[in-house]
Symmetry: C2
Subunit: 234 residues, 2 copies
DNA sequence: ACACAAACGAGAGCACTGCTCTTGCAATGC
DNA sequence: GCATTGCAAGAGCAGTGCTCTCGTTTGTGT
């Protein structure tokens, strides 16, 4: 399969597929998903628009590929912050990961809109995007698990009507942690992305000015919600 | 009809404008903003597509009108819950307003996507939408102010690098409340809408099953963040 | 009462989109 | 060598937002 005559075609195909994705990503980053036109990327690639359909059966499939890439790129940023902060106090790691996610979102607003904004077409989140999408959440959970191992986790309480749900959540995503933290993790995950989304989408215009300090402070509150001692707390 | 010479045209114009908005809103609710086509609404209204431009100078202007309406509709839902819960404990009112917002979002997912999802076109949030957009936030703040008047507000602390910002925020949106609660209010506002957005946009699929109980519990945590005693807390 | 101006509706048309189908060419497999 | 397959290009369809023009209707100032 390496130097077989069959491989030449395959390699060319991979290269062209990558070139299409790259150009599409460039346009996405500049103008947003709504303005992404198959014909335009075909034009700048010097190929007929119909040729693109050999590589992506439809525009939505191209978008799905970009979605997966965006999830992965964001997940990598979060995991990088996780690694870079290894050994630090859980509270510090928490804000490090959160700020990495925020930094990525501010640097790639259109990609962020693609994955956490409104589902663009008839909205479809194919199952293939799930693993890439969960990386951010797992990075956050890693911090919590870290704190739990160190005995520094303040396990929250959970109402009776959520106990079963918490147990299921814990079994699915948070193995090795007390079930009671699972709902808090999920809630904080959604709240963090909501907070970042508001900033990226301009909802904070004329409302929040000191964005950095505001984010740091708010993220500290989120840490407390999952049972962590926030960074810099006495 | 000839009673008011000047009013005949104006009234017809208002009626047609309303009919266009109504039909557009219907299509928006069914298919989403991306699929909203000017020509299609013109067709079902029995008029030429070019005639629509006498009433809305562009598709984006129609969308802007729908955005304002959606903000108002959501704001009304929140304010209705506020009124209906008058006299109840602040914690109860808090979850009442939050659940009203969530209920509206789940009932009008496309409208919700329009106002809190990714900015669709080249994204424009004209200043005219601001008052409508702030109604939800003010409904939440009203609950906090209510608690403060009753002396039941647990004023949070604010780090030194946010004190000036908190004072500015308080002067702008939260008059009569201690400045320290302002950042918490803004943060919780963003977090609440983020939480709802995750549910509406399907991010909770296969993750949260008991949505009602989960939301109730999470919203209780948000209440605590702004200094309220959550509903049903001892 | 009449003329003038403004508002209006309809149609044609432009540039653009996603997507399909057919045709011709080149590389691959027997 | 020959048949099969993968690929690229072009034409074409249906649809979009938007503009322009051309009559017609409606309201108003004199």
């Amino acid at each position: 399969m390496t130097s077989t005559p069959h491989g030449a075609r395959a390699r060319a195909r991979n290269e062209i597929t990558a070139a299409i994705k790259e150009e599409a990503r460039r346009r996405l980053a500049e103008q947003g998903a709504a303005e992404l036109s198959l014909r335009a990327v075909a034009r700048t690639l010097g190929m007929a628009s119909s040729a693109i359909y050999r590589y992506f059966p439809s525009r939505d499939d191209l978008l799905t590929a970009l979605i997966t890439d965006a999830y992965d790129s964001l997940g990598e940023a979060a995991e990088a912050a996780l690694k870079a902060s290894a050994g630090a106090a859980p509270g510090e790691r928490w804000t490090a990961v959160c700020e990495a996610v925020r930094g990525w979102a501010l640097a790639h607003p259109h990609e962020y809109a693609l994955i956490y904004g409104s589902p663009v077409p008839g909205y479809a989140a194919p199952a293939t995007t799930v693993p890439a999408a969960s990386r951010v959440g797992f990075a956050l959970i890693d911090v919590v698990r870290d704190a739990h191992r160190a005995g520094e986790l303040n396990v929250p309480s959970v109402p009776a009507d959520l106990e079963a749900e918490a147990a299921r959540m814990a079994a699915d995503f948070v193995p090795g942690l007390p079930p009671a933290v699972a709902p808090a993790c999920v809630a904080v995950w959604a709240q963090l992305l909501g907070l970042i989304g508001f900033e990226v989408f301009g909802q904070f215009t004329r409302i929040v000015e000191e964005r950095d300090a505001f984010f740091r402070h708010t993220v500290g509150g989120l840490a407390r919600t999952v049972g962590l001692r926030p960074a810099g707390a006495s």
